[in-house]
């Protein structure tokens, strides 16, 4: 009865309006959170976000209606998001600092999606994420400053080199599992930082300076542009490209997740024995997931180098790996949308709450632990894939 009631009422509140309203509210909350000078919005925005997440969890029917509407008005929803993203630099024109931070969100999102494929989908605890991110950045930095290679090429070479270096860890990865994999990758991470800090070729501890801004097909990034009479602020170009990059990654990984590849990887993660007996080449798929994930980090790194103009060994240390891992954990392991949420939280909130000063990392550590205990599957937990068999699948939702 409840269900049919809901359907009737929905007509009085048109679905398209609901879709747009949700998008606008989320947009206003984020922008308000970033820009408001006083503490009110600062507290209100996360509060509203948490409250609505909680309510949606408590009332699956509301969630169902919302998802249904988003499915139905898929094109409208996408157009809405597109317009809001296009408008973001204009809204933030006088606050370029936050635009820059949103570019960082895009970069970290791309890298974290790669890590999510490894850690979330395939169950490889890659603690060398920052090293692969750094490999991309150093590839771009060295090519641009030493070899004078066109910028476009670095966006291909960055991920390619990161993928190439994945091969180095293939043998140890194949021969180990679980904690041993963590140790393999953490060793690589530590060795990477020591090597780039001590090689003269990589600029030593000072790293690489004066890396030129990105330029693509003759278009120079990093300055303000006039488009159709609208003056776009600096970093607007970087923002749009970062959006494209992370959305492309989102689409690819979402497709992967819902394809048989995603199922294969999850099977390997959850029970390698079952996977092997079902005829899955577990090793092949582990290596593919590892390489593809690292390539994503390499791409993010190459992009970062040409955004910040400066890279040095400190930026690619273990601490950065921990940040990427937190992003994946907080949002929900093996959940593409969760990674988006996690990136926003981990990158923007500490930046905004700088007045917390010395307590920042303490809160961070406690939040990470509490999050893992209270919500072991993250804020947006793992969903069972919907292959149109939802009724049958609902029995097996409890995933360890």
């Amino acid at each position: 009865m409840q269900q049919s009631f809901g359907h009737d009422n929905r007509l009085s509140f048109p679905g398209w309006a609901m879709v747009l309203a949700v998008e606008v509210v989320v947009f206003v909350l984020i922008i308000g959170f970033l820009l408001s000078p006083g503490p009110l919005f600062l507290i209100a925005a996360p509060l509203v976000a948490v409250l609505s997440l909680y309510l949606l969890r408590r009332r699956p029917s509301t969630l169902k209606i919302l998802t249904h509407q988003f499915r139905q008005y898929r094109k409208l929803a996408l157009v809405g998001i597109g317009i809001l993203l296009l408008a973001t630099p204009i809204v933030l024109a006088s606050n370029v600092y936050w635009l820059f931070n949103l570019v960082l969100v895009g970069i970290f999102l791309t890298a974290a999606l790669g890590l999510n494929l490894q850690m979330g989908s395939a169950g490889i605890p890659n603690m060398a994420a920052a090293a692969y991110y750094g490999l991309g950045a150093y590839t771009a930095g060295l090519m641009l400053t030493r070899l004078d290679v066109p910028s476009e090429l670095t966006l291909i070479a960055g991920p390619a080199i990161a993928a190439l270096f994945s091969v180095l860890l293939f043998i140890p990865l194949l021969r180990t599992s679980g904690f041993y994999m963590a140790l393999v990758s953490v060793s690589f991470q530590i060795i990477f930082v020591i090597v780039i800090e001590n090689l003269e070729f990589t600029g030593g501890p000072l790293g690489i300076r004066n890396i030129p801004y990105l330029s693509l097909l003759g278009f120079q990034f990093g300055s303000s542009h006039n488009v159709f009479g609208i003056k776009l602020p600096t970093y607007a170009d970087f923002f749009y490209l970062a959006c494209l990059m992370s959305i492309a990654a989102l689409v690819v990984f979402n497709r992967l997740y819902h394809s048989w590849v995603g199922v294969t990887l999850s099977t390997i993660r959850d029970d390698p024995v079952v996977a092997a007996t079902s005829g899955i080449h577990t090793k092949k798929w582990t290596l593919i997931a590892f390489t593809l994930g690292n390539a994503c980090m390499g791409l993010a790194g190459a992009y970062y180098a040409q955004l910040a103009n400066y890279i040095s060994p400190n930026i690619f240390g273990l601490e950065r790996t921990l940040i990427l891992i937190s992003i994946v954990i907080l949002g929900g392991i093996d959940n593409v949308l969760g990674v988006v949420l996690g990136t926003f939280i981990i990158i923007l909130i500490p930046e905004r709450l700088r007045f917390l000063g010395d307590y920042r990392f303490l809160i961070y550590g406690i939040a990470l632990m509490l999050g893992l205990i209270l919500r072991p599957r993250g804020l947006l937990p793992f969903r069972v894939r919907d292959f149109g068999l939802s009724a049958r699948n609902s029995a097996s939702t409890s995933d360890g």
């Binding site: 409840q2 009631f5 809901g6 009422n9 929905r10 509140f13 609901m18 309203a21 509210v25 206003v28 909350l29 308000g32 408001s36 000078p37 006083g38 009110l40 919005f41 209100a44 509203v48 609505s52 309510l55 009332r59 029917s61 509301t62 209606i65 006088s94 606050n95 370029v96 600092y97 820059f100 931070n101 960082l104 020591i194 800090e197 001590n198 030593g204 501890p205 000072l206 790293g207 300076r209 004066n210 600096t234 910040a308 103009n309 400066y310 890279i311 040095s312 400190n314 930026i315 930046e351 700088r354 000063g357 010395d358 920042r360």
Partner: protein
């Protein structure tokens, strides 16, 4: 039912948001026009005592200007934390640079952060009078008029150090340095200056800056039988090295170090192992600074949480002095301030002494002072019992 509640909730939420937006509006007030400046440094983290000491010095000068009825402007300062990390520094500087109200900055304690952000200062034409970062490239590694610095560079510091060391008969020196930008640059400059004088670097060992155990490196150094050990490291590694030396019975070798050692934690933590160690610091002792006594008294009176940091507090104070003078002269305009500071900073009196910027915005009158640990605290070498002959430095072995 469900969607009716959703509908109400949406209305309620949008109402809430609208109210919040309205309450955000704030009215500005004040009689004098306000000028915004920014201070950038490590306000949290491992280097926070240096950063806070600098910030307090900066604020003392600002508060004085604000209390001065003759000043044309009221100064507001935004403190931005760079955590001594390069990527955070890029964000921090961007925060200041893209805020058009901010007309000048005094920034950076760790050289890597200053170098990481140098391009941004230039791009946004934001003048920055560096108060704490000593790497030569901060001013000499670019042609940016925006980058200026009140303290001397590591080149000069190590030239002074090398001359002193050589003149005191230490001709064969072994070096232990950290493989950070700080340690590497110190060691390179010392090594250049020292070999030019005819000295010999008998052995050099670079180690990770977080090391606590350097007994292996020190044993090799001991075996190389040097006259003295050069420590190219900031405080943590210096402390570890001094304590490790004591453990290896290396109390018969003189230690010379860098300005990074001259904080009270070194003699406090290393105790007897630090006795007699020498280091070289920018500026003159605070008692001999023109405004030193007053600064010391004001600092004590203000009751800051962090004790005064020599020389960082006076440097940040003087950076504020220079910036305020420029703003008073040409008004709150980034380009004009940059130009004024570059053209008019000649023989300027500041709290720690004269400042003259060369064509790279580098203060060329930055003096250096040798300090020695005497009875658990740093004492200017010339005022110490080592200078009067009551105590002896460890003599060079090769004599």
């Amino acid at each position: 039912m469900a969607s009716k509640i959703t509908q109400r909730r949406l209305i309620f939420v949008s109402f809430l948001i609208a109210t919040l937006f309205l309450t955000q509006c704030q009215a500005a007030e004040g009689e004098k026009p306000t000028v915004n400046l920014a201070f950038i440094g490590p306000l949290t983290g491992t280097h926070s005592s240096g950063g806070q000491g600098g910030y307090n010095g900066f604020m003392l000068a600002i508060n004085e200007a604000n209390a001065d009825p003759n000043s044309k402007y009221h100064y507001e300062v935004e403190a931005v934390d760079d955590e001594c990390k390069e990527d955070v520094a890029v964000q921090a500087v961007l925060k200041a640079a893209t805020n058009e109200d901010i007309v000048a900055v005094s920034g950076h304690y760790c050289s890597a952060t200053a170098l990481a952000a140098a391009d941004l200062y230039h791009q946004y034409q934001l003048p920055n009078v560096v108060w704490g970062a000593g790497h030569p490239d901060v001013t000499y590694g670019n042609d940016y008029p925006e980058m200026m610095r009140v303290l001397g560079t590591l080149i000069e510091q190590n030239t002074v150090n090398a001359k002193w060391t050589f003149a005191h008969g230490y001709k064969r020196v072994a070096a232990l340095y950290e493989t950070s930008d700080y340690g590497q640059s110190h060691f390179d400059n010392f090594s250049n200056a020292f070999t030019e004088l005819g000295g010999e670097i008998v052995l050099s060992k670079g180690v990770n800056k977080d090391s606590t155990d350097v007994t292996a490196e020190l044993t090799d150094i001991k075996a190389s039988n040097p006259d003295a050990i050069y420590l190219g490291s900031s405080a943590p590694l210096s402390i570890a090295a001094l304590l490790n030396m004591e453990r290896l019975g290396m109390d018969d070798i003189q230690v010379v170090g860098t300005s990074g050692m001259r904080i009270t934690q070194v003699p406090d933590t290393a105790g007897s192992a630090a006795e007699g160690a020498i280091c070289f610091v920018d500026g003159v002792p605070i008692e001999k600074m023109p405004g030193g006594a007053k600064l010391l008294a004001d600092y004590e009176a203000a009751g800051f949480e962090v004790e005064i940091q020599i020389p960082w507090t006076p440097f940040a104070y003087s950076a504020a002095q220079l910036i305020i003078e420029a703003v008073e002269a040409v008004g709150p305009d980034r380009v004009a301030i940059t130009q004024y500071l570059n053209e008019n900073t000649t023989n300027k009196d500041t709290v720690f002494g004269k400042v003259t910027f060369d064509d790279h915005g580098q203060n060329i009158e930055a003096p250096f002072t040798a300090y020695v640990v005497q009875d658990g605290s740093w004492v200017p070498f010339d005022d110490s019992e080592y200078a009067t002959g009551e105590r002896q430095l460890i003599p060079p072995t090769s004599e």
